[in-house]
């Protein structure tokens, strides 16, 4: 029997009909048509499905959808500003070649987004610790870390010169 739940997605209130065993990722992709978050392993190992619930990154593929009732969900689609301009982290991934096949990218960026919110000037170790739950099968980790460093520099107004040297 379907149940109706309400929560917020990228700032908009939504009401959806769900089955109790559905996970958050299924509802985001199949009901709300927000297909940025990807299904990789489906078991909370790969991080391709990473979204924020009340600001904290979680694996949406194993997050029971009934648990988001009344909470705030942020997906990759919510990072762009109203005028359609990419978020500085998205822009940094483009400029620093942090994207190869792109499948891990939405999850990577959501993990980076949560990191930079809590820690605007992370060390390389802190970046690697924060994205440890996001797997890149293209193995482009060096460029991904550089993208996050570049984004951190841009967002905090530090010179890109320094970001390049880090």
């Amino acid at each position: 029997m379907k149940l109706t739940i309400g929560f917020s997605v990228n700032g908009d209130s939504v009401e959806v009909e769900v089955l109790p065993h559905w996970n958050l990722l299924k509802v985001l992709r199949d009901v709300l048509e927000l297909t940025g978050a990807k299904q990789g392993c489906g078991e909370g190992e790969c991080g391709a499905c990473t979204v924020l619930v009340n600001g904290a990154p979680v694996n949406s593929c194993i997050y029971p959808v009934l648990e988001v009732e009344g909470k705030e969900v942020t997906t990759i689609e919510g990072l762009m500003d109203k005028s359609g301009r990419l978020h500085p982290i998205q822009q940094a991934f483009l400029e620093k070649a942090g994207v190869q096949c792109g499948f891990c990218t939405p999850g990577m960026i959501m993990s980076a987004f949560a990191l930079l919110k809590a820690n605007p000037d992370p060390t390389e170790d802190e970046i690697r610790h924060a994205i440890a739950g996001n797997m890149c099968r293209c193995t482009g980790y060096v460029q991904i870390v550089e993208s996050v460093q570049h984004a951190a520099a841009v967002m905090s107004g530090r010179s890109q010169e320094r970001a390049g040297k880090e």
Partner: protein, 292 residues
């Protein structure tokens, strides 16, 4: 259609009443990082899931000499607690490399312990800290020492109708160092091939061992204390030689299996090495704590 009913009680008492009502048809779910995966893989198929996720009364870290941790506290909350990092670094060591940030934001210490995997990262730290586990049911409360809590892989002393509410940890002795090390193939998102927690309390000379506690993960069907190795260290000067001997003894006490992640002989070798290495970290930490 394969599904379940998903109930979100508003209090522990209501959760206990639901547990009584549904009995073995129900399973508790906290962060779901084990339960949801087990359901998807068809390892479990409960008719009812009773969620503990939003119960504030289960989610707290309380200091006062010792330490009390609500069973519903996430690994991430423990990782980010400055007091845990300073006063109970063995817990910080374990939770900061458990799964990923995503897993730690959902998964709870109570779930990790009640899932009772031999590889549970939080088990060896709670074992060396002589943790008491508080268990509630509609009939009342009882307390079990964590060394008596595990009964086998995925098996605990919990009876139908019971749930774990609290981990209560006594204050460590003065001049104590504690640490957890895990041996994995990769740094992140990996279960330990072997996990070792060591706690050493020193006499005033900061050399003589007043008390030693050593716990091993993935070394037996349940997380275990290495009692012989502990007895060997007590009263002796702690250095590389005695720690290596303690490692040998702990390795002999262990009865690891050969699995896809490691052979029995290899696990025994790693226990020998990790007891020594982790013991050396304890010495440094005890000296650091004595200086501050």
């Amino acid at each position: 259609m394969r599904t379940f009913e998903y109930l979100k009680p508003a209090s522990v008492n209501k959760a206990l009443a639901l547990l009584d009502l549904y009995g073995d048809q129900a399973k508790l779910i906290a962060g779901g990082t084990d339960v949801m995966v087990q359901w998807k893989k068809r390892i479990i198929s409960p008719q009812v899931l009773i969620s503990l996720r939003n119960l504030a009364e289960l989610s707290f870290i309380k200091f006062g000499g010792g330490l009390e941790i609500g069973a519903g506290t996430t690994h991430r909350a423990l990782e980010l607690s400055p007091e845990i990092r300073e006063h109970f670094p063995v817990i910080h060591d374990a939770v900061s490399n458990l799964g990923s940030v995503q897993v730690r934001n959902s998964g709870t210490i109570g779930g990790n312990i009640c899932n009772a995997a031999p590889s549970a990262d939080t088990a060896p730290p709670l074992l060396v800290l002589d943790t008491n586990v508080r268990i509630a049911s509609t009939k009342g409360e009882r307390t079990v020492a964590i060394r008596d809590f595990f009964r086998g892989p995925s098996r605990t002393v919990l009876q139908t109708g019971e749930l774990v509410t609290l981990f209560s940890i006594p204050a460590p002795l003065p001049r104590t160092g504690m640490a957890y090390s895990k041996h994995t193939r990769r740094k992140a998102m990996d279960l330990p091939i072997v996990g070792v927690a060591v706690l050493l309390s020193f006499e005033e000379d900061l050399k003589t061992c007043r008390k030693a506690a050593i716990a091993l993960g993935v070394a037996a069907p349940t997380p275990m204390r290495a009692a012989n190795a502990e007895a060997f260290l007590a009263g002796k000067p702690v250095d590389k030689t005695t720690l290596l001997e303690a490692g040998k003894i702990a390795s002999e006490e262990a009865s690891p299996r050969t699995t896809i992640r490691g052979s029995a002989w290899y696990r025994k070798e790693i226990i020998r090495v990790l007891v020594r290495r982790t013991g050396l970290i304890c010495m440094e930490r005890a000296k650091g704590a004595a200086r501050s």
